[in-house]
């Protein structure tokens, strides 16, 4: 079953890339799957609609749950990063204040590899950021603010 849901997530990613103008070969390369599989996905074959429904629900979870769930399904951080960055439904802007002590905990924690240290201060690449807030929650000096600048999730928690 987890494999089916993982396929569902790949399906959603393929559709998303198609929307961005990728051709089938490019999608196959990007997601590291066969071109024929991409073709099946885009033609709506070879996948249960049920898996896609579950995958959609996962992408609409809060960003942290989406990220953790995806990692649990794929058991591979690089693939997780790929799926999450394609299917994430919000854009984020990160701010690090001068109280940052450069402990590097956020660098180690970030599954998206969005954080790097420069001159004893964390720098967060807003493009890679998935908004999971793990860094903000664990920062020992409360120096990180992740701001949501755009959100197109279907269901918003009321």
């Amino acid at each position: 079953m987890p494999n089916h849901i993982a396929s569902g997530l790949k399906y959603l990613a393929a559709i998303e890339l198609k929307k961005q103008g990728f051709n089938q070969q490019m999608i196959a390369d990007e997601l590291d799957i066969d071109r024929s599989t991409v073709s099946h996905y885009l033609n709506g074959r070879n996948l249960s609609w049920n898996s896609i429904e579950v995958a959609k629900t996962i992408t609409n979870l809060c960003p942290k749950d989406f990220l953790i769930m995806t990692r649990t399904l794929f058991k591979d951080e690089q693939k997780t990063r790929k799926i999450v960055s394609i299917c994430k439904s919000g854009d984020y802007h990160a701010e690090v204040t001068d109280s940052c002590i450069g402990c590097g905990l956020c660098v180690d924690l970030c599954l998206m590899k969005a954080v790097s240290l420069d001159s004893l201060k964390a720098h967060i690449n807003s493009i890679c950021c998935c908004g999971c807030l793990i860094c903000q929650e664990r920062c020992p000096t409360n120096s990180i603010k992740i701001l949501e600048v755009n959100n197109d999730r279907e269901y918003e928690r009321s």
Binding site: I101, G102, C103, D108, L109
Partner: protein, 345 residues
């Protein structure tokens, strides 16, 4: 997800976190002076410094500091601000003192080998036993010959040549009114140490082996050779060597400038501060007679490193140590600058 591991070793501990990079913090108990700067510096309150008095008096046997590895985020601040480098912090095996972005104190202790006369006064004086002076002297059996005489008119009978002569050839009598200096030529090896030490140039000496009779030999060509070594690990940059060096060969740059005040009204002369002080700044005053009651603590402030260990250990809060200036390498990190500046309180 990301957890620190802590390994307790014979003398200290290692805390490690490995993910993107390997960060490692280790503690050397024998270097720690118990000043408590790490405790007040730690941004996550992970460090607990024990009461240092009973430990240095060997009443209890426990590590001087303890770090809660669950709280520690391995930022390295405790290591960067430790005045004596008792905490080692490395990133991918590179000590942060070698990493440019991390600030560290500008402090040093050096002996200039060109000036040093290898008299070993600093080795004897060093409160941390950090200095090793090795010297090789000619022996009588090497058939050294030369000339030596002391000018009684110029001599101030300070006794430094007597104290330093490696072969006990000089005898200075400092009894008031009967001052005299005598040189035993049978013992003298013409190393010219006395000539170089003498503050008033009262000794004339030449070694025939190396100067061929030139009476006013350049002291730098003298035959006392040797080497000096300061163990940077144990040295606390207190300045004893600089103060005691007769030829100004030792140069010390302290990490802090500051003041040390003892409130004599509060002080109970218990001696805890004397035991705790890493650089023999504090002592009981020399009493003129056995019946004298010692009612204050003597301080030689020029040797103080203003670490505050005594202030922390004093049971009656009689000591006030203030840091007025800290020299550290530049950094872009405001939080690290704030920590260094916060020492000045």
């Amino acid at each position: 997800m990301i957890a620190n591991t802590k390994e307790v070793k014979d003398e200290g501990f290692d805390i490690k976190r490995s993910a993107e990079e390997v960060r490692n913090l280790s503690f050397k108990d024998h270097i720690c002076i118990g000043c408590g700067i790490c405790e007040s510096t730690c941004p996550v309150d992970a460090i607990n410094v024990a009461e240092i008095g009973p430990i240095v008096r060997e009443e209890v046997d426990m590590p001087k500091i303890d770090i809660d590895e669950d709280k520690c985020v391995l930022c390295g601040m405790c290591s960067g601000l430790c005045p004596v480098d008792a905490l080692d912090f490395t990133i991918d095996s590179e000590p942060i003192s070698n990493i440019v972005s991390y600030p560290h104190y500008i402090s040093s202790a050096e002996i200039d080998d060109d000036t040093c006369i290898y008299c070993q006064r600093c080795e004897i004086a060093c409160p941390r036993d950090s200095i090793t002076i090795a010297r090789s002297l000619p022996e009588r059996s090497d058939l050294v010959t030369g000339e030596i005489e002391a000018d009684e008119e110029t001599c101030i009978h300070c006794g430094i040549c007597d104290e330093m002569c490696p072969t006990d050839a000089i005898d200075v009598d400092r009894t008031p009114g009967e001052e005299s200096i005598e040189i035993d030529k049978d013992k003298c090896v013409y190393c010219l140490l006395c000539k170089k030490i003498c503050p008033v140039d009262a000794i004339k000496a030449a070694c025939r082996i190396c100067s061929y009779g030139d009476y006013d030999l350049n002291p730098e060509d003298a035959v006392t050779t040797g080497s000096s070594f300061i163990d940077d690990e144990t040295c606390v940059k207190c300045g004893w060597c600089q103060e005691i060096c007769p030829v100004d060969a030792a140069k010390v740059k302290k990490q802090y400038e500051g003041t040390l005040d003892i409130d004599e009204d509060k002080c109970t002369v218990c001696g805890t501060c004397i035991d705790v002080c890493p650089c023999d700044v504090l002592s009981f005053p020399e009493s003129p007679g056995p019946a004298t009651i010692v009612d204050n603590i003597h301080k030689d402030e020029q040797y103080c490193i203003h670490c505050g260990a005594c202030e922390r250990a004093c049971p009656v809060d009689a000591i006030d140590v203030k840091i007025t200036n800290v020299d550290y390498t530049p950094t872009k990190s405001k939080s690290w600058i704030d920590k260094f500046e916060a020492l000045k309180n």
